[in-house]
């Protein structure tokens, strides 16, 4: 099964990026084989609408779930429309997050947990 994790770096030992729309990389990983692809986030410096754009980028990758730290209202709506499980509060390395997800320790969220513009810094 393919899932996506927001990441600060390009490999499985990188830390989970707590921002969704403006994270540095999206790591698309197969939870069984741990084969992965690191996609640089072109929306990192977007003026606005980063959550919406990133949501569509993730949707195109046809993943089952997204693991991230926080997700705002626009991104949430976009991911939900794409039928992707949204899991917030992920932290630590990408590898650890995948393990926790496989063990069922991470639960999907039912709503956005931060406001718009949270990732602006």
């Amino acid at each position: 099964m393919k899932i996506c994790i927001t990441s600060e770096g390009q490999d499985l030992d990188s830390q989970v990026d707590p921002r969704f729309g403006r994270c540095q990389y999206f790591i698309i990983v197969d939870t069984d084989s741990l084969e992965f692809e690191a996609v640089p986030n072109s929306n990192m410096e977007a003026m606005g609408g980063a959550g919406v754009q990133s949501g569509q980028l993730v949707a195109q990758k046809q993943v089952k779930a997204i693991l991230t730290g926080n997700v705002g209202p626009n991104a949430f709506q976009t991911l939900q429309a794409a039928g992707i499980d949204i899991i917030t509060g992920a932290a630590g390395s990408i590898r650890e997050a995948v393990e926790k997800y496989k063990k069922g320790e991470l639960k999907s969220t039912q709503g956005p947990n931060v406001n718009s513009k949270f990732g602006m810094r």
């Binding site: 609408g49 569509q56 949707a59 709506q77 976009t78």
Partner: protein
């Protein structure tokens, strides 16, 4: 003639200068409060509002029966206000519109190959207009201000509506918002002269430098008004001298002015001798002494 009153820093006295200028000059004035995020000139001018209307921007509405989820609208939207999700299996996708990100440019409906997008009006603010005669019988000042709805992010559409009230047979005085971003540009562009109000503090000077960059970029003739000119330091004066920027007026700190302000009263009501100073300020601009 259009005179705009701007500043980099907030709270330097834009509205104070704009209002007193409008009431002092013996001309027909069209006063436009373009600080639509927090308009406050009405507190001092106390206009009798005669006209009220809403401001709308066009936002897209998608006809999902016609939409093929091709993604053209998303591609042309510069603001990420449209999301197109293609479904994996059945072919039925979804299109999401985020009206709060939309600038109302109309590209999505223009480029939609299926003509599946129509524009619907979304209210973003309102305009109020009237005259100041009840409070100031000797002044012929027509007053217009815009008010952006709470929760709306984009001021320029409302500011553009306010600026449609510019008329040639009155001297237009524009009270601009603080800062140097889109709302300020929208407010001050096309002015014949821009007054930059500042205060002689490090913050005031820092933001004045930014504001000067803006007016120079827009090629507007401009001059500086230093409010509370006897407080702070002399770096602002030194800067203006070095840059050859005319300091057109200095308003020293005076307790009577501060007290009047706190009661919603103008400088010229508290210290009537200022009326002549504002008339001189206007005459200097009108005669092109600073351009």
């Amino acid at each position: 003639m259009i005179i705009s009153v701007a500043s980099g820093k907030g709270g330097t006295g834009k509205t104070t200068v704009a209002v007193n200028l409008a009431l002092s000059i013996r001309e027909k004035v069209q006063f436009l409060d373009c600080d639509v995020e927090e308009p406050n000139a009405h507190i001092f001018l106390k206009p009798a509002i005669e006209e009220k209307r809403q401001v709308f921007i066009p936002v897209p509405e998608i006809d999902e029966l016609k939409c093929t989820y091709c993604g053209k609208c998303r591609e042309v939207c510069a603001y990420g206000a449209v999301a197109v999700i293609k479904s994996v299996d059945s072919g039925k996708g979804s299109v999401l519109v985020f009206p709060n990100l939309c600038h109302g440019c109309g590209s999505c409906s223009y480029f939609c190959p299926q003509q599946a997008i129509k524009e619907v009006n979304k209210e973003v603010g309102e305009i109020e207009a009237g005259y100041v005669q009840p409070a100031f019988p000797n002044a012929d000042v027509r007053f217009v201000h815009g008010r952006l709805n709470i929760g709306e992010a984009m001021a320029p559409p409302v500011i553009r509506e306010v600026k449609k009230y510019v008329v040639r047979d009155r001297i237009t005085i524009i009270d601009a918002p603080p800062g140097t971003s889109c709302p300020v540009i929208t407010s001050i562009k096309d002015s014949d002269f821009c007054l930059l109000v500042t205060e002689p503090t490090p913050f005031g000077l820092n933001d004045l430098l930014l504001a000067v960059e803006v007016v120079r970029k827009l090629s507007l003739p401009f001059g500086v008004v230093i409010n509370r000119s006897d407080l702070g330091d002399d770096k602002t004066e030194t800067y203006c001298q070095k840059e050859d920027i005319p300091v057109i007026m200095r308003i020293p700190f005076q307790k009577e002015i501060a007290v009047a302000y706190s009661h919603g009263k103008t400088i010229i009501e508290a210290v009537p001798s200022y009326q002549v100073k504002f008339q001189e300020l206007y005459r200097g601009i009108a005669e092109g002494n600073f351009s």
